[in-house]
Subunit: 375 residues, 2 copies
């Protein structure tokens, strides 16, 4: 890192902000001698469920596992093998992974250009009798209007199709004032360190207010056990969150809304500085600015321009799921009809956006954005 | 826990023994702000590979994931889907899980009564052109003679079949003086807290000296990525070890051999106290006494007898994989021919055995065993 560089993220600053409480809770958890499936996890799961507006929360090892287990629980009532799951193709591949691990077929749908989120109409157009689930990814902290998808499913007589809200980038985001994750049948979260609510290692969660689904996920995340060593449900695996991570997340949770405000304020400043050549992705009113993503022509030149000013950039994500070389041979649908996704993929660029950015760093990014605009 | 009870395990004692170093390393890791894929993991992976006699070590989220990824890496060169994997049915179900998640069929083989380990002859008899891998589980810390299996495969002209050594219960065990895990094509480890080498949360590892297999596992444990966000290999998932856990394991690793000696000494005392009615499972010369498992008639009465003396017991494991209710409909082979496994399953009982047991506790267990023998 150059002196005075603006890094994409700097988790040591987050740590500095919370270290007294974190070290107290981590030490307390370590000293308890109880490091999995214990009191810290129970407490955080209850607190996070209450925050997110769900009645149940199962803590798992990471956000991709959360999607995999949620899909399995949502689709298991039927023989879903070979069924289709409607998803966007621009969200980093995590939902695609989860589909294939369940023997399900991703059916890709296109996005809205301004928000980079799955288009409601595309989702509804893709629904068929083969559809076994819809994964709605609240990408970059922006929110998809889940209510509009639900209304469309009702109109089409397909309201039985479960909706999974992928909230890996949308902790605390709101849709019409109500928490993202509380609309669909299941919600999944990742607590990767850079997330709006991040652990200091891997972690994830599955939330639902359906007791049957919660019970299934709870069994599936430990081998399908009904009780220790007794398997009642096929398709299980081992996917648990460490007690240490749950204790850390419980320290950070009370500040989540406040930290999201800080993210939003930074993104608002960036947007004011870039109105012509650069177009920041707009996630809607209740969005939580997980990433500050913009669309630009001549991306390589823009990245070089920023780098010369000591400002890191990144790309989320560089390849559509359907175009990943390693997944070429896998079953998929809809990959021919992704005009906006394809037009966007080469123009996406992320600039630093996280609560611990200094005012001076935000100002430097704004200045650089303004300079690029003025060129 | 009753006053003066002898618990099955008590990890707070382990913690007490190592807490100064553990707290130093955990705090150092937290303060670094780098919590996944960092220096601590790199260091522990190198140290553990050197200890175990492999050239590569990939750290993953847990031991079941390790088996799943190892199976995928070992079998991917062919179209292995639907292929058979030879395993024992008495090892808790972890390898069976890993098979089904790869679309592979467990082919169960019977065990030796005295060791409760897969019988070499049964393994060799089960090998056919459908066999895509053999998982050899070094159960309870005992060791299977992998060399004898390899020699048999050579004689049968089937030395291409990969052997995966499941060392989840055999950290530091030796086969003819050489480390268990260094004989097969791949070895997998779990670092569940109660293991001979245990983390303070979940963790696992895949070890191999085959660079191609190592490269595949390294990609598969992060989505199949060749580089960040670029998928080169299908079938990947997210399975990483937290830096915190790697740092903790690196503190404990240098004491592993010494702690294994302590376990062995405890088991030796138990064996001396029980020679007639109770038969302790014998894992062989290089075994590391992960669990002290005995075979007894009238198990319920024995457990009540021990409980009345304040001594906890457990059962590892109560159900054969092929008899799990939740797995009834899944594809499997060999489940009709498991005479010794079936004759043993109702007679297994574990008594406490871990390095931090006090001399007084060990004496109390010995006394109780002797009293039962004398009845």
């Amino acid at each position: 890192m150059k002196p005075n560089a603006v890094p994409m993220n700097d988790l040591s600053r987050l740590y500095e902000r919370y270290k007294v409480k974190v070290e107290l809770e981590v030490t307390r958890t370590l000293r308890s001698g109880w490091w999995l499936n214990g009191a810290a996890g129970k407490r955080f799961a209850a607190n996070f469920a209450a925050f997110a507006g769900a009645s149940d929360c199962v803590l798992v090892a990471n956000g991709t596992d959360a999607l995999e287990l949620a899909l399995r629980a949502a689709t298991r009532l039927d023989d879903a093998h070979g069924g289709e799951v409607i998803i966007a193709a621009n969200a980093g591949g995590y939902a695609s992974c989860a589909c294939w691990h369940n023997g399900l077929i991703p059916h890709y749908v296109d996005i809205e250009a301004a928000s980079q989120l799955a288009s409601v109409q595309s989702v509804l157009d893709a629904v068929s009798s083969n559809t076994v689930a819809i994964v709605v990814t609240h990408l970059y902290g922006g929110v998809v209007d889940v209510r509009a998808i639900q209304a469309g499913l009702v109109r089409a007589g397909r309201s039985h199709i479960p909706i999974i809200e992928d909230c890996a980038q949308a902790h605390g985001a709101r849709i019409g004032g109500k928490m993202a994750g509380s609309f669909g049948d299941i919600a999944t979260f990742s607590f990767y360190p850079t997330k709006n609510l991040g652990a200091m290692g891997d972690g994830g969660a599955v939330l639902t207010s359906n007791p049957k689904v919660a019970d299934d996920v709870r069994r599936l995340h430990q081998y399908g056990w009904d009780s220790k060593y007794h398997v009642g449900l096929p398709g299980g695996r081992n996917s648990r969150m460490d007690e240490i991570q749950a204790a850390i997340l419980d320290v950070l949770l009370p500040d989540l809304d406040h930290r999201n405000e800080q993210r939003r304020a930074i993104l608002t400043r960036f947007k004011s500085a870039a109105r012509r050549r650069l177009k920041f992705v707009d996630g809607g009113d209740g969005a939580v600015a997980h990433l500050a993503v913009l669309l630009c022509d001549d991306r390589d030149a823009f990245r070089t321009f920023m780098k010369d000013r000591g400002i890191d950039t990144d790309i989320h994500y560089p390849v559509l799921d359907c175009d990943q070389a390693g997944w070429k041979g896998l079953p998929m649908k809809g990959d021919q009809d992704l005009g906006i996704s394809r037009a966007s993929i080469g123009r996406l660029c992320s600039v630093p956006c996280y609560p611990e950015m200094t005012d001076e760093e935000v100002t430097r990014v704004c200045q650089a954005l303004g300079d690029w605009e003025a060129m």
